[in-house]
Amino acid sequence: MPLEPHPDAELVARCQKGDEGAWADLVAAYGKKVYGIAWHMTYDRAEAEELAQDCFLKVWQNLDRYEPTEASLLAWIAALSRNLCIDHYRRRKREKGFLFLSDDAVSTLLPATDDPQADAVRRERVRMLLDAISELPDELAEVVILRDLDGLDYREIGDLLKLADGTVKSRLNRARIELARVVRGRVGASTGDGRSLYSPFGPRTTTATGGAR
């Protein structure tokens, strides 16, 4: 029985033929995800835009090499962007020792609410948490970023990292426990049972730009 062509194969074929509308469709479908991965690897808007642009340039240059039967278009694009981003992430960690989280970056993740005091506490906590992620080994930090921050599902992460779904899940849980251990080392025993640490993060009701998930 002949295999049905992948839904993305037609889009890629149109792009290869120089269809201008096809390229716009491709960017509209995957631009936000690529930008999100790049942002969480850099915590900087300008650098994320640069990385995303490099990624799509690479996609354009390698369209001929895309094989629809081997991976979905998202996994292929994410793999290209991941290779660019992880190199940038490692280089930046190596050069600076940590990933600097600017106020602008925190504001992107935590839009202001009507309670400035709660906003300040949340920003401090988020800064601590993201700093802790950058302390994780790269393979653990990567799955936390892709799943918890970028929202990719197990299958997409598995396609991207060439791992089985079960392996992705166990690695993700190991990363979460390791992350909790790093945070525990930072806050110490003064926090008590830890319930108060993240109490400002109740269910989100309104957001300015990002929207609740």
Partner: protein
């Protein structure tokens, strides 16, 4: 970290693996509340609480969105799209199997298979060589020298009818006997030289060291002294007196050491 804490982390990981993604926080909280070790160990209880709390924080965070201007810039058709459009028909020829492969003609294959003839050496050099000039490269070759030496040896053996092994054996025997003779002569000469040396004389007995005439004079004097002393004692004390005849026990020098 104790073994109990490690076991708790293992239980926590297993609990998270069992449940779905949406129930991660609830599973961590439930384990922290129900686990006996977590009730005793505040660090492990805090760990489970943090795992649950992080899920809430991640859910709270907004996702960074690219600006519309950036997306529109990305959506712009790359500069080489026109070239790609124009070249698409040409590029399609690059697909394997689309274009036929050029085959070489029969005449070319025949020419390629032909073996080139070796060049004639006389045509290369314009110097005329004599018979010795032609043989010189052969004669000066070391392999020729080895072959000639073997041939000469076999020829001599065949002409003289000599068994080379027996000749070699006889020569070896002659050499051996000559060597043994030389060794024995050297040994005798060494003994003689040693005996004549100061060290040899010092270690030899006194009868060998002294001249035989001196020895005889010494022995006669000694016997005379004994006889006179015997007579003197008989005159003074009367009767016979036993005198030790020690001189008779002294060994005389052997034949080879008598020099007089």
């Amino acid at each position: 970290m104790s073994a109990a804490c490690r076991a708790f982390e293992q239980r926590l990981a297993e609990a998270l693996d069992r449940v779905g993604e949406s129930a991660t926080a609830a599973a961590a909280r439930a384990l922290a509340a129900a686990d006996a070790h977590a009730a005793e160990c505040p660090a492990c209880a805090l760990l489970a609480t943090l795992v649950a709390g992080h899920a809430g924080v991640f859910a709270f965070l907004a996702r960074p969105e690219p600006s519309p201007e950036f997306l529109s810039r990305l959506s712009e058709t790359p500069a080489d799209v026109r070239a790609r459009q124009e070249a698409s028909e040409v590029l399609s020829f690059l697909t394997p199997g689309t274009l036929a492969r050029p085959e070489p003609s029969r005449a070319l294959l025949k020419r390629l298979l032909a073996v080139p003839e070796p060049a004639i050496s006389s045509a290369v050099s314009n110097v005329r060589r004599g018979i010795f000039g032609r043989l010189k490269p052969v004669v000066t070759d070391w392999r020729f020298a080895v072959v000639a030496a073997y041939a000469a040896t076999f020829l001599i053996v065949a002409l003289l009818r000599v068994d080379p092994m027996s000749v070699a054996r006889g020569a070896a025997n002659d050499l051996t006997s000559a060597g043994e003779r030389a060794l024995s002569e050297a040994r005798v000469a060494a003994v003689h030289r040693f005996d004549e040396s100061a060290l040899g004389r010092a270690t030899a007995p006194i009868t060998k060291r002294l001249d035989y005439r001196v020895y005889r004079a010494f022995a006669a004097g000694r016997a005379r002294a004994v006889a006179y002393s015997q007579l003197v004692f008989e005159r003074i004390f009367g009767g016979a007196v036993d005198v030790l005849q020690a001189s008779h026990d002294t060994p005389e020098p052997s034949e080879p050491f008598r020099r007089s």
